[in-house]
Point group: C2
Chain length 491, copies 2
C-alpha cells in the first residue's frame, strides 16, 4: 500500500517531517480501515510461536536511517502476525477494551505535544484538563463532591498509591522512619476478598507489608466478600498483635465481576478506623448508567476509589482514574520537591507529581476529554448497555444449553461458564476438557476467550468490552463453543 | 481550519469511524505543520493563569455526542493556550525532550492496536519487540550481554523496581514477611549522592525504607559523588547497626549532568555486597556516540541500569529502559500469577508483568523501534552531537561574558550558569536577581529555562534536547539573557 514519498530521507529535517506527513496520512487510512472492520482480517489471538518475531528481526539497530516503506513493510510482515488484537471485536478475553477513534485522536495529539505534566506550570492544560475530566466522570458516577481525582497509568499503580496513603494515614511515621528496624511497629495487615485482583497483593509486596501483610477474606456463594469473615479476621489479627490498615472492596472482580458488599464493608472500616479503598477498575464505568448505579452503593464512604477509563470506557490504554477524599494524605506520602522542581506557584497550584510515585506524566486527559465529548454521556451509556445486553443474552443462552453451565452470576458484561459434557463430573478431567475447549475456540482466530478458577473448577469467560463487538461476534462465539464441544466430545 | 465532514455524528458507528478518518487526516496536517515549525507560533511557556482553563470548560460532560469541529475549536481556543510546549525548539527547561515524527507514528499505531502486553501471549509482538529493541540499545551503549532489558513508563518506576529488587536480594524474606513488626530486621539504608534525582528518595518512601533509609552522600567540587564519604557512611551505618542495601550512582545528574565515578562506586559495592543501580536517565543516550561512551565506564558492573529513550533519544514520553543482570530477582520481588493470568506457556516465555508493579503494559516498543529505524544509529549520533556542540558553544559564550559565570562543568547538552552583575556577591540578592532574570527570559515566549540550586546558589539551566533546537534558538536565548541582564541591572 505504500507509495514513494518522492523525497530522500532527510536527516537535516529533524522530525523527518516531510516523511512524517506522508506516512502519517497513510497510517491514518490503515487505522481507519482497521477500525472499520479491517481488524477482522487478523486472527484475534496471534498464531506466532515464541521467538518467531525475535528471530526475524536484526540483532542490531540499523547504522543508517531506513526507508519508511521498509519499516512499514516489516511492520506488516513481521510485527502484525505477532500481534494479539485487543481492538478486534472478537476479543473477549480478560476484559475487552477499546482503542476508539476519538481516543486515538487524543493520543496522536498527546504524542505530538509531548508534554510532561509533572507540575502545573510545565503544562497548565495537562493538570487542569485532568482535574476537569475527572470531575466530569465523578459527577457521572454520582460520587461525592469532595472526591479529588487524578489519572494514573494503571489500576496497579492507583491501588499502590491508595495503600501507600493508607499506610501514611496510620500515624506510624512511615515517611520519616520507614518500616524496618523498628521495635514500636507491629505487623501490618491489609484485607481484600480472595477474589481481589493480584495487583492488591503486589502492592502489599511493594510497600513492604509482604504477603503476610495481605489477608484474603473468603467469599460467599456469589463470589462477594464475606463481611462476617472480614470482621472475624480483623478481630483475630488485633488479638494477635497485628495492626490492620486498610480494606480493599472490589466492584467487579476480575474472575466473575462480582460486587463486594461495599456498604457493609464501609461500616466495618468506620468502626475499625480502617482505610477503605474501592477497586472498581472494570465495573465502575457501568455506573454511568442509572440502572447500574447500584454497584457503587457505599462507595461514597470510601477513602479512595479507582476505575479505569481504559477498561470499559473506550479510552486507549493507559488511563486509570484515582479518587480520594484525602488528597493531603497522598501528598504527605509522596511529595518531595527539590529546588529544581519548584516554580513561582509551588504550593498555590496543584502539582500532580506530588500525589504519586511517577514524576513523568503524559497528557492522558486529552484522550479522555476527546472520548467523553465525542460520545457524550448518552453515547457511552448506549454502548455500555449494548455490551450488558449482549452478555445477558449470552448468559441466557448458556443457561439453555444442556451441556453448558453458568459458573457464576453475570451482573455486567462478563459471563463465566463451563462445558459439562454428559458423565463428566467437576474435577480435573472437566477442567482439562474446558481448557482444551478454550484452546480450540481460540485457535479459530474469530474470538479469544480466557479462563479463571472458581469454586467448582475452571471456568471460561466471555468478556464483552470492545466497542465493535456485536451480535454476530457473539453468534460466532456460540457456534465455536458448540462445535468445539462436539469435536472434543467425539474425537 | 476544520471543514465539514459531510456526515452526521453516527453513534451506530462504534468508533465514530467515518469521522475518525477525516479528523485524523486533518490532525496529521496540524501535527506536521506543528513539527515543521508551527510550534514556534506559540509561547514555549504557557501564559495561562491558574484556573483559566478550568473556568472556561463546562462543569459536566456533555449529555450528547458533540461535533468534532467543536471539539477541535475548543482544543485550539481553550486547551492550546494552556499548553507549555515541550516539543517547541525553544524548550530548554528541565531536560529538553522530543516527540519526533517517527515516534508519533509509533504512538498512533500503538493507540490503534491498543494491546496490553502484560503476558507474552496477550501480544507476542509487544514482548518480543520490546526485548529486541532493548537489546539493540544495549549493544549501542556497549553494555554487557547478560543485561536483560525491558521498558517502564518512567525512571521513577524503573528505579523503584531496581530498589525493590535490591531489597529482595538482601535475603531478609521481605516478599513473605514484609518489613514491619520484625525484631530480626535492622534499619535499611540506600545511598546516593545529594545530587541524585528526587525519585530515588521517593522510591525509598514507597518501599518502606523511609527518608531515614536514604542517606545522601556529599559531592565533590564537580558535583560528583564523594566516594570516600560513601565508604565512611557505609562503615558508620554498619557500626550503628544499619543494613546497607544499595547504592545509586547517577550518570548525568538533574541539576548539572555531573557523572558519578561509577568504577570506584562499583568497587565499593563489590566489597560491601551492595546492589549498584545506575540512574543514567538523561545522559545514557549520549553513550551511543563513541566519544561519549566514557560516561558509562563502570556501568558494566551495575546490577541494574536505567536510561530514558523519552529523554534524549527522540521517543515521545513515556519510555524508560531498565536493564538488569538479575531478572530472576525482579521476578522474585514481583511475580504473582493468579490462575486467570496463566497461559499454556507460563514459565516457558517471558511474561513482562512478572518484572514489575504494573499489570497493564502499553506497546511502547513500537515507537522506540520506529525511531531507531527512522534515524539509524548515525542519525541519532548526529542529533546528539549537534546538541552537545550547541551546548558547548553556549558554555564558551557564557565564559566570555563579563557578567555571567558558569556554575558547573557542562559535559553534555546542559549548561548551568548565573548572572553576576557588578558588585553583587553570591547570596540571596544574587539568587533573587537570577530568578527574576529567568522569569524575564521565560516571559518572552521564545525560550523556557529552569533553575536549580548549586553550592554557590541559584543557577539557571539551558538544557538542549529537543530535536528542532538549532543555532538560531541559542542565539535568541543569548540575546534574551543579555537584554534581561541589562533591563534588570538598570530598572
Amino acid at each position: 500500500m505504500w507509495e514513494d514519498v518522492g523525497e530522500e530521507n532527510k536527516l537535516s529535517e529533524p522530525h523527518n517531517t516531510k516523511e512524517f506527513r506522508a506516512e502519517a496520512h497513510r497510517m491514518v487510512d490503515w487505522i481507519a480501515d482497521y477500525l472499520e472492520g479491517g481488524a477482522r482480517d487478523f486472527p484475534v489471538l496471534s498464531r506466532s510461536k515464541p521467538g518467531d518475531l525475535s528471530r526475524a528481526l536484526p540483532t542490531e539497530m540499523p547504522a543508517e536511517a531506513e526507508n519508511p516503506k521498509q519499516i512499514w513493510a516489516d511492520f506488516e510482515s513481521m510485527v502484525l502476525p505477532a500481534v494479539t488484537h485487543w481492538n478486534h471485536p472478537g476479543f473477549m478475553a480478560y476484559f475487552g477494551i477499546t482503542g476508539s477513534g476519538p481516543g486515538i485522536l487524543g493520543e496522536m495529539l498527546s504524542a505530538a505535544l509531548n508534554v510532561n505534566g509533572m507540575l502545573w506550570r510545565t503544562c497548565p492544560a495537562a493538570t487542569e484538563l485532568e482535574l476537569v475530566v475527572l470531575n466530569w466522570l465523578r459527577k457521572g458516577l454520582e460520587l461525592p463532591d469532595d472526591f479529588f481525582g487524578f489519572l494514573c497509568d494503571t489500576a496497579s499503580i492507583s491501588s499502590l498509591l491508595a495503600l501507600a496513603a493508607a499506610r501514611e494515614n496510620a500515624d506510624i511515621e512511615v515517611r520519616e522512619r520507614g518500616l524496618a528496624g523498628r521495635d514500636d511497629l507491629p505487623g501490618l495487615r491489609v484485607y481484600a476478598s480472595d477474589q481481589a485482583h493480584s495487583s492488591i497483593a503486589k502492592a502489599c509486596l511493594t510497600l513492604g507489608f509482604g504477603l503476610d501483610g495481605f489477608r484474603a477474606i473468603p467469599h460467599d456463594d456469589d463470589y462477594r466478600m464475606d463481611v462476617a469473615a472480614l470482621r472475624q479476621a480483623i478481630s483475630e489479627d488485633r488479638r494477635a498483635g497485628f495492626r490492620p490498615l486498610a480494606v480493599i472492596a472490589t466492584v467487579g472482580t476480575t474472575s466473575t465481576t462480582s460486587v463486594d458488599p461495599v456498604p457493609e464493608i464501609a461500616k466495618v472500616c468506620a468502626e475499625e478506623y480502617l482505610w477503605l479503598h474501592v477497586d472498581a477498575a472494570y465495573a465502575g464505568s457501568a455506573a454511568l448508567c442509572p440502572e447500574q448505579r447500584w454497584c457503587l452503593d457505599g462507595c461514597e464512604l470510601a477513602d479512595s476509589f479507582v476505575f479505569n477509563p481504559h477498561k470499559w470506557l473506550f479510552v486507549p490504554i493507559d488511563a486509570s482514574a484515582l479518587y480520594t477524599r484525602h488528597p493531603e494524605i497522598f501528598k504527605r506520602a509522596f511529595s518531595l520537591v527539590p529546588e529544581y522542581l519548584t516554580t513561582p506557584m509551588t504550593g498555590e497550584v496543584v502539582d500532580l507529581m506530588d500525589y504519586g510515585v511517577q514524576l513523568g506524566r503524559r497528557f492522558r486527559a486529552l484522550k479522555v476529554w476527546w472520548v467523553l465529548r465525542s460520545y457524550g454521556l448518552s453515547g457511552l451509556q448506549m454502548h455500555l448497555r449494548r455490551h450488558i445486553e449482549l452478555a445477558q443474552a449470552f448468559s441466557d443462552w448458556v443457561d439453555e444449553q444442556p451441556h453448558l453451565e453458568r459458573a457464576a452470576p453475570a451482573p455486567f458484561s462478563v459471563v463465566c461458564f463451563r462445558a459439562k459434557p454428559p458423565g463428566m463430573e467437576h474435577g480435573e478431567a472437566l477442567d482439562g476438557f474446558n481448557m482444551r475447549l478454550m484452546e480450540e475456540i481460540n485457535t479459530s482466530g474469530d474470538v479469544y476467550l480466557s479462563h479463571t478458577r472458581l469454586d467448582d473448577g475452571i471456568a471460561l469467560r466471555v468478556a464483552i468490552g470492545n466497542i465493535g463487538t456485536d451480535e454476530a461476534d457473539l453468534e460466532r462465539c456460540r457456534i465455536l463453543i458448540l462445535k468445539g464441544l462436539q469435536c472434543l466430545s467425539n474425537p
